[in-house]
């Protein structure tokens, strides 16, 4: 399989405009098409180390990033995201095409990939097991995820814990990690060698910049792993570090509320979550210092 980086820029641009490019992102094949000049470069920057699939193939998602028809093509130009030929949201301004692509793809996965239990969670792997960091407002999961990845943890996802119903394993889906506002500088300081993309200002979440997936994580995107730890992160400025175990019923309840599609999955969802909780060490991590948090979690994994 050829990597996207192997395509010359011009050939990439032409393919995107014409029949599209099929990208392997974890378990999903995404067909990407776009008529936007600026998009090609960013796609290659962030997905260069991912494999392209040669057609014919069954794509899981058919995604297009297009200029809208009419006046918004030039005047205060916009970009539309289409999934399977339909536009599920309002257009964004043209300069935010890449964040729209990322956000739209996440939305599409959440809508459709019901063959998995989907947790709203970061997932990183070490020592053959996955650490799940479920999201809740203000938890700092993406920042913590980025920090762990910069210290050698394998990136499964900063957004989705994809759990297989049959064996309870997590499936990787490494993608660019979006960081917002202050987190961008925090991670720049924490890990100067990590590669950032451009900053996008004035998005709905403020300023957003993306971290490129480490090559090693991308190279192992086809290797699943069982869950080992469920840690609910809680960032509090000035808080001292504390890793506090929680009881299973609590963890269960939090996870049920945290998952994208628990309700939809019915009995299978119940069984997958109870099994996950049974097999994991569950705790809450209160922290303010990123170094300490990363060290603690790394020790937890290496124990």
């Amino acid at each position: 399989m050829r990597l996207l980086a192997g395509l010359a820029h011009e050939e990439c641009r032409q393919r995107l405009a014409d029949r599209g490019i099929l990208l392997q992102t974890g378990p999903f094949i995404v067909e990407v098409r776009s008529d936007l000049d600026g998009f090609t470069g960013l796609l290659q920057q962030f997905y260069g180390q991912f494999p392209m699939v040669e057609p014919p193939a069954i794509a899981d998602f058919h995604v297009q990033l297009l200029s809208p028809p009419g006046i918004r093509r030039w005047w205060r130009p916009q970009v539309r995201f289409l999934l399977d030929g339909q536009s599920p949201f309002q257009p964004f301004q043209l300069s935010h095409a890449f964040p729209l692509f990322e956000w739209g793809l996440n939305w599409s996965i959440a809508m459709q990939a019901q063959q998995y239990l989907m947790l709203h969670s970061a997932a990183v792997e070490r020592a053959g097991k996955v650490l799940l960091l479920p999201a809740w407002p203000g938890c700092g999961k993406s920042t913590l995820c980025a920090a762990l990845v910069s210290r050698g943890w394998r990136l499964f996802s900063d957004e989705f814990g994809l759990v297989r119903a049959d064996d309870g394993q997590l499936v990787p889906m490494p993608r660019p990690i979006p960081l917002k506002n202050k987190s961008i500088d925090v991670i720049r300081d924490f890990s100067p060698d990590m590669e950032f993309g451009p900053e996008f200002h004035g998005t709905r979440k403020g300023t957003v910049a993306h971290l490129r997936t480490p090559d090693a994580s991308a190279a192992q995107l086809h290797i699943p792993a069982p869950p080992g730890w469920l840690v609910f992160p809680r960032y509090r400025a000035g808080a001292s570090l504390r890793l506090k175990p929680i009881d299973k019923p609590q963890a269960f309840l939090k996870l049920v509320n945290n998952s994208f599609n628990y309700q939809l999955l019915g009995l299978q969802g119940f069984q997958t979550v109870t099994r996950l909780v049974r097999n994991c060490e569950c705790s809450i991590l209160s922290y303010s210092d990123l170094d300490e948090a990363v060290d603690t979690l790394t020790q937890l994994a290496d124990a």
Partner: protein, 357 residues
Amino acid sequence: MALRKPELMLDFGPDEWDLLLRIARRNRLLGRLAVVMTEAGKASQLPTKVQDHFLAAQVFVTHYQRTARWEINRILAALGGIDVPLVLLKGSAYIFAGLPPSRGRLLSDVDVLVPRGVLDDVEQKLLAHGWESVKLEEYDQRYYRTWMHELPPLRHPERLIEVDLHHTISPLTSRLSPDPEKLISDSIPLADTRLRVLQPVDMVLHSAVHLFHDGEFINGLRDLVDLTDLLQHFGQQAHFWEELVSRARLQGLLRPLFYTLRYTSRYLAADIPDSAMVAAGDDAPSGPVLYLMDHLIGAVIVPEHPDYPRQSRAVAHWLLYVRSHWLRMPPGMLLQHLLRKRIMSWRQRKASARSLA
């Protein structure tokens, strides 16, 4: 049609599957496709990706069917005291009666027919048990109650499914007015005798009216598949076809039956006896109207490629939508209604655009 001959799909290459999955999903037939392959014993021979997509579709199907069943369960619990025949319609009927259209079916609301005399009691009971009326805007409330054949939908805040209570199957102002009392008195009880379904010929006619007169054709293909299923299933019963035609005549529904027989046989290879076709033809529309209908229905029923939507299809949808409203409302009201709907949806779009900015 892939649905008719599952074995053909085993030979499909990836690009054919790619397109088929997309089209099936768009037309709400992916669950049905999954069931068809499973019933044919072929599911495990399919490419893994296809099986994944089928799995995902079945999650939705199971969820929605469970939700509908539970909603009926809760309605029965709430109506405890009232002795009322609850006649299930459409999706709920297919599911509770285990009929072919229930296979792989997604349904987003529950439709129930009750005698007009007890409609208020039933509504009051449900409201007292926590259901709320959706679409509270005053114009819509009046529209629903006075002119449509249902109350404004009810929804219980703990559950997301809509309950539509009907007292007839065509709006009061429409040119067609089948007798609801007959529908109810001829309905058939289910295993749980508090629940009933329309007798077979009425079920077919109701589905036909729903598609060809009420219909906005969003699920045109799926609805036509339902009709084909029902005709194939009931068509095996003795005297079904004669009764279908005579009932249609009695209820003034020969025109929708004509369209049904014509288009199920044309697009889905339904096996319709000549006698029925001829008899239904007694109320065939005039040449020009039929020509137009053929064209419009063809444009909306045949699935389009998701990436290359045909302009004509969008226009056809609009014309059929207008037609269905024209059939339901006196002409003067139609313009007023459509105009109002456009203004409201324009306002909604402005509001949602603002909230995203």
